[in-house]
């Protein structure tokens, strides 16, 4: 069964090709939906089959499926001597990619199904599903790739699909701008990522995960030696990879594209900008964890950047009035959480949170999509309210998602967030208590803003257009079923990783152990730092208490509507303005980088217009005109002059000569006689 791994990404690809090229413009929505959902559903089923087959044995070995040689650029001078660099394309199944495979295909399929209901009747239905299938292909290549090259192919593929789907409503300028913004910001990160990959290829002569992993284990000390800019080689590569991750996963300083990406259809936000694509950065860091382990400084940077992003984005989420924007900032914040864990070396916790987050954030987005759908496109929280009774199923689904993300006990978010917080508490990174405190604070903020949204949208009385209020209806089954399934996931996904402190087995962490094992230091396997069970339970209770308190506070303030919250924000006008304008980061980027680029472009345009166009091109034109004029002058006066001169001379000469022709016979006779005489004389002289 696992031999069919290659078929998993191929199925959605066939679906995308069928929808994109085969079925005509007039294909019914039913056909398109069947192709798209069929291919992604088949991929999901096959993925589950592959995973089950992989998990049959007790401690499975990674299963590599090299497919073909992609590029062989030839011999590369590496540090370890010349290496024949060949870049293969293939797939790899190990615990990490098993988790990602499951998350991507499972969530991907349900969101495909959801989209059938959500996008019904939209123009561009077929285009939407083509892109969505294509995205699934790219994402699967990303998480299944057996080397950095294959992964990068998927990495860029998801970036492209993200661009296409953010700009899906391209007739709206804001959507087209948002797509461009996402793409350009990602390019900045990708540049760093590429630099890292080139460095890796130059050092190891390969980009395959397995080979790089064994070489790192063999030459750990050499990789710690100073390399460039005061960084070790491992540090340099780790920094490059992390910069790439900040672009894709919307971390400081490249997070600005994700809120704008909400211009895309809501299921796209759920799939790409919450559950799967944006987590690719976390996947990258965890996949490269051996390199990050050799670069403790960069790892600490990852942790601090993650913590800062988590806190700042949670702060921004507090005051957003757009339902999807709150969720977007929440996603950035939760991704920061994952990076916090990855930076602290708790890679399993990062992936655990990634997986649970995929469920509950997809659920939240889909529920939000159902609300927006029911309200006819309304996204403003101030014009909602009282939907608990009108959209009961949607409201309950959203409630479950909110409880999960807030970290309430039995739900998925609790377990993964707890794993991260206890990792922060137990970590040896300097300042880890500050990181822990930031994590706790962010958890409280998360619970607060999520229930602010919940209260504003579902409690109180309906504040929107009364006419729209009459048409309120729960979603069709294609939208309700995914909500139900994901709600189950949001409740139960965390149970895979119940920590030992609560009598569980932390099966998730153990499962990932082979991939994220601590590198041996001086031949001694490192013992993972752990809290005592009592301390861990204490930490859980603290986090739980903070979350519950924040939820109660949020419900108290916002139950009746936004007024009390608005009054509260008037008390802290500066703080509110800071949060509402997202610390003016967009404006700062606009004033510096964007304006700078524009200025540079304008300068270049001016140079083009002045120096190239007017100077060189027009100069050349003028020079040619002048040259032609000169040449014309020469032609007219010298060449024509010669011709005319010869004609004129001939004319003159003939004029004088024609007088000889008198026509009188006697003259001719005289001339003949004279000539004869002369000839005879000459003969007599020269005889």
């Amino acid at each position: 069964m696992r031999d069919l791994l290659w078929l998993v990404p191929l199925l959605p690809l066939l679906g995308a090709l069928a929808n994109g090229l085969l079925v005509g413009r007039r294909a019914s929505e039913k056909t398109v939906a069947w192709i798209a959902c069929g291919s992604s559903g088949a991929a999901a089923l096959l993925g589950v089959g592959v995973i089950v087959d992989y998990l049959r044995v007790q401690s499975p070995r990674p299963f590599a499926l090299p497919l073909w040689e992609w590029m062989s650029p030839g011999v590369l001078p590496t540090v370890a001597g010349p290496a024949n660099l060949t870049i293969g394309f293939g797939f790899l199944l190990d615990p990490l990619s098993v988790v990602m495979l499951f998350v991507v295909t499972f969530v991907g399929f349900w969101i495909h199904l959801y989209s059938v209901g959500y996008m019904a009747g939209e123009p561009g239905f077929r285009r939407y599903f083509t892109y969505l299938n294509l995205f699934l292909v790219a994402m699967l290549v990303l998480v299944l790739g057996d080397g950095y090259a294959s992964m990068f192919l998927g990495w860029e593929g998801v970036g492209l699909c993200s661009y296409l789907l953010i700009g899906f409503y391209f007739d709206r300028e804001s959507a087209a701008d948002a797509g461009r913004k996402a793409f350009i910001v990602n390019r900045i990160g990708d540049f760093a990522l590429l630099a890292g990959l080139f460095a890796l290829a130059g050092r190891f002569g390969t980009l395959q995960f397995a080979e790089i992993g064994s070489q790192i284990a063999a030459s750990a000390d050499a990789l710690r030696a100073p390399y460039v800019l005061g960084l070790s080689f491992a540090g340099f590569v780790a920094l490059c990879l992390f910069l790439g991750a900040t672009g894709k996963s919307a971390q400081i300083p490249l997070y600005i594209w994700l809120p704008d990406a909400m211009a895309g259809p809501t299921p796209v936000s759920a799939l790409i900008h919450a559950a799967t694509m944006v987590t690719a950065g976390v996947y990258l860091v965890v996949r490269s964890n051996a390199i990050f382990q050799l670069a403790p400084g960069i790892s600490a940077l990852v942790a601090w950047v993650g913590a800062a992003t988590a806190l700042v984005a949670a702060g921004f989420a507090l005051v957003q009035t757009d339902l999807k924007k709150v969720l977007a900032y929440s996603t950035i914040s939760q991704l920061g959480y994952m990076f916090l864990a990855a930076g602290l070396g708790a890679y399993a916790a990062a992936i655990f949170h990634l997986a649970t987050h995929a469920f509950f954030k997809a659920l939240l987005f889909l529920a939000a999509g159902a609300v927006i759908h029911a309200l006819g496109g309304e996204q403003d929280l101030r014009r909602m309210g009282g939907l608990w009774t009108r959209l009961p199923r949607t409201a309950r689904a959203f409630g479950i998602g909110a409880l999960a993300i807030a970290g309430i006990l039995p739900f998925a978010g609790f377990w993964s967030k707890d794993a991260i917080l206890s990792a922060a508490a137990a970590s040896g990174t300097s300042g880890h208590w500050i990181l822990y405190a930031i994590g706790l604070l962010t958890a409280g903020l998360t619970a607060f803003y999520m229930f602010r949204v919940f209260a504003l949208a579902f409690l109180g009385s309906f504040r929107g257009d009364p006419k729209a209020g009459h048409h309120l209806h729960d979603a069709p089954w294609t939208m309700a079923l995914p909500l139900f399934v994901l709600a189950v996931g949001a409740v139960a996904a965390g149970w895979l990783g119940i920590p030992e402190a609560l009598g569980g087995e932390n099966r998730f962490g153990r499962f990932l152990e082979p991939v994220v094992a601590k590198l041996a230091v001086n031949g001694v396997p490192a013992e993972p730092a752990a809290l005592s069970h009592a301390a861990e339970i204490g930490g859980m209770l603290l986090a739980l208490g903070i979350a519950v308190a924040a939820i109660l506070l949020a419900l108290r303030i916002y139950r009746a509507g936004p007024e009390r919250g608005a009054a509260l924000s008037r008390k802290f006008p500066r703080l509110h303005a800071l949060l509402e304008h997202k610390a003016w980061v967009d404006e700062v980027y606009d004033a510096t980088i964007v304006r700078g680029t524009w200025g540079l472009a304008r300068l270049a345009a001016k140079f083009d217009a002045r120096a190239i166009d007017r100077g060189l091109v027009e100069g050349a034109g003028r020079l040619t005109v002048f040259g032609s004029w000169m040449s014309g002058l020469f032609d007219r006066h010298v060449v024509d002059g010669l011709v005319n001169l010869s004609a004129w001379l001939l004319d003159r000469f003939s004029r004088s000569l024609r007088r000889v022709q008198t026509g009188a016979v006697s003259n001719y006779a005289f001339a003949i006689a004279l000539s004869a005489f002369v000839l005879v004389c000459l003969y007599a002289v020269w005889r």
């Binding site: 000569l657 007088r659 022709q661 008198t662 026509g663 009188a664 006697s666 006779a669 006689a673």
Partner: protein, 110 residues
Amino acid sequence: MSPEAASSLWNVGTEHYLALSLLLFGIGLFGVINRRNLITILMSIELMLNAVNLNLVAFSYQRGDLLGQVFTVFTITVAAGEAAVGLGILLAMFRLRQTTRVDAANELAG
């Protein structure tokens, strides 16, 4: 007819023939160039022709070679034909121009 005969005073020698021939030719040439009447010109041409004939005969006599005299007989015969052609042209011109003055025919003037 020996060469020493030429030394006697009254003996007529080749030089006399040649002198006469030159005179005749000069008169003829003068007539051809100076006269306007086509008939006179024809007559002058006959004069020049006969001057040449005289030359031929004189040299023939001097060299004791009859070939020159035979040649002269032929020349006279051909000259008769030439005179006929000349008179034909004269007649044609007279019919065309109602005159026999050669300066009336000057179409070739440049």
